[in-house]
Symmetry: C2
Subunit: 350 residues, 2 copies
DNA sequence: TTGTAAGCGTTATCAC
DNA sequence: GTGATAACGCTTACAA
């Protein structure tokens, strides 16, 4: 009873292919895994049988023999949905045609059990590797944990956080400086800044960019014009109330992300302050919100999709036969996007 | 050489547990899988050994033996990042502590190869089940494909799309009618409507709700006040330009989602039209944008996170020992959220 | 260059 | 109730 295919799934197995091609299963296995030590004739013969039978290697079986799942995991604790989803798109673009699956695992960095949770997850799922999004990408313990578990990782951040194989970065500092310079070029001298949450590398980088830019223009750094936000809309509103109460108020405000910039704008509009005539605002991220509010926000576009793709390629390139082993870049450049929320300061201002 | 644990991972295996407890591996397996035909004493003994050794069942091996991966897949072609991410959160809440992983797979419904892509993915990954988000949840071919592949599925939609085990729905029609009634109660008689894209069940349901409400108020349906949008911001802007050009213009506009409502608002503000004094606007979704624009948008909150959790529970309840088999609901109710974008129409209007 | 035998860690079968 | 033994489909020694 030479039944082809396993009884359960109806799918042909490696044995069926071996029988059909008249070779051993190991030879078929070699073809599947792109082993170089095979006659072209054998390879062709086996490939033909694979084709003819419509054979699809069973990933569970491979995973068992391999000791790893054909899965990469996106670990994140990022509150920005658009960022996470764009990053996912980038990853999926990179792994598009392969056998790899993308799993998503949000974690809670405020939980003391975070590391244990991650460890448990890695032990259970045994993924090929993990991708770490900020802010947890900044956590060195997680990177160490991955290494200990034999799981590859790539960290994504606003600055270079690791060596080239384990890191993809954006140039936040430079871009915020560029944005700030555009404000200075427009004539602004009194520029407010809304900081990101303490302990975030991105927050630090962006603030440094701001300080670099005003310092090089010879503007004195005024602590009263810096507000401590937390990347949320609400804190942007709080920043607006605080900064607009300063006398004289700043003529422009730079926010460390779009969400806070939107909060700023909300408060300004609520008070009848004309943006950009009476107040210029710049955000960071180029989230959909930035272009969906009126006036459309000037901002810095973070190449998050491209970063996702790059990070995923770094993660899996050793597993994919086709991938060239050429050096992949570490830093991807952001771009400053000018829209409608910036204008020269009003001369009539007291 | 009684080495405990496999050489490769250092993790103890079922054999180690069996040896430690002095039982066969099958008995250990029975404990793991919650088999009822076991002495309490045996069960306790084995559990103790599992505890002592820190044994974690290898999911790859289980997957091979089971013929399925411990994975559920979110299949979607939804452009709204927040919706997708909230839904993910709901799913993860449901599968929180289990061995299950959540994989994400965006598909392209405009591609003729979509079904083949999905089939290939399901063949390769053999997930326990898939969760279908609108708009592809409305595609019956996908549901059939899942059944054919022996993959469970649950569809999520704006209306009941399948039987109770395979469906989670929201009451969009009712809620849009309620929103519209609030407009009518405020005194509006000339109400514009921005439709969602053709072929979307959600678009149909929401429009029906609108028509129900104006009909019951005895308002004549005026095709000139209905604009065909596509759920994107741009089409909301187009709708604004078109609807505001009607003479006399509507005093209120209902949009089928927040993004289009934001487009509407953008055009109004750009033209110096006061919202809500001169124009009331209502959206749908309760996306972050709705509360981050000024004035904050009245909208309908879609319980997307709860739907994700419910859908995931329906999908996996047969696999989880603890889950009670009680009937889970099909429909989850949305809520109308009143914010600042609605006011009575101006009496001075010509 | 190819094949054989022995796993990988679990579950299913079918006796006892 | 419990336990040998044979799958599950593939990979990795090691041999030929």
């Amino acid at each position: 009873m030479a039944m082809i295919g396993s009884a359960e799934t109806g799918q042909p197995t490696i044995n069926d292919v071996a029988a059909h091609a008249g070779v051993s299963k190991k030879t078929v296995s070699r073809v599947i895994n792109g082993s170089p030590l095979l006659t072209d004739a054998t390879r062709a013969k086996v490939k033909q049988s694979i084709e003819a039978l419509g054979f699809v290697p069973n990933p569970q079986a491979r995973a068992l023999a391999f000791g790893r799942n054909f899965m990469i995991v996106l670990l994140h604790d990022n509150p920005n949905a658009q960022t996470v989803l764009n990053f996912q798109s980038g990853i999926l673009q990179a792994i598009g045609n392969t056998d790899l699956a993308l799993a998503v695992r949000p974690v809670d960095r405020s939980s003391p059990a975070m590391l244990d949770d991650i460890r448990e997850f890695l032990e259970k799922q045994r993924p090929l590797g993990v991708l770490l999004l900020p802010p947890i990408s900044e956590n060195d313990d997680i990177a160490r944990l991955c290494t200990a578990q034999g799981v590859r990782y790539v960290r994504v951040g606003s600055a270079v956080l690791d060596d080239a194989d384990h890191c993809v970065a954006s140039n936040d500092r430079e871009m915020v400086a560029a944005a700030c310079r555009s404000l200075i070029a427009a004539g602004h001298r009194s520029i407010g800044f809304v900081r990101g949450p303490a302990g975030f590398r991105s927050a630090l980088e962006r603030e440094t960019g701001f300080r670099d830019a005003i310092a090089e223009a010879g503007i004195r750094h005024d602590p009263a014009l810096v507000f401590q936000g937390n990347y949320r809309f609400r804190s942007g509103q709080d920043a607006g109330r605080a900064l607009l109460a300063v006398t004289p108020p700043p003529t422009a405000i730079l926010a460390s992300n779009d969400e806070m910039a939107a909060g700023l704008l909300y408060v300004a509009l609520e008070r009848g302050i004309k943006v950009p005539q009476e107040l210029s605002i710049i955000g960071f991220d180029d989230s959909p919100t930035a272009s969906h509010i009126w006036p459309a926000l000037s901002t810095v576009r973070w190449p998050i999709l491209e970063m996702g793709e790059l990070a995923a390629r770094k993660l899996v390139r050793d597993f994919l036969p086709g991938e060239d082993k050429a050096d992949l870049p570490v830093t991807l450049n952001s771009t400053f996007i000018e829209r409608d929320s910036v204008a020269p300061p009003q001369p009539s201002r007291t």
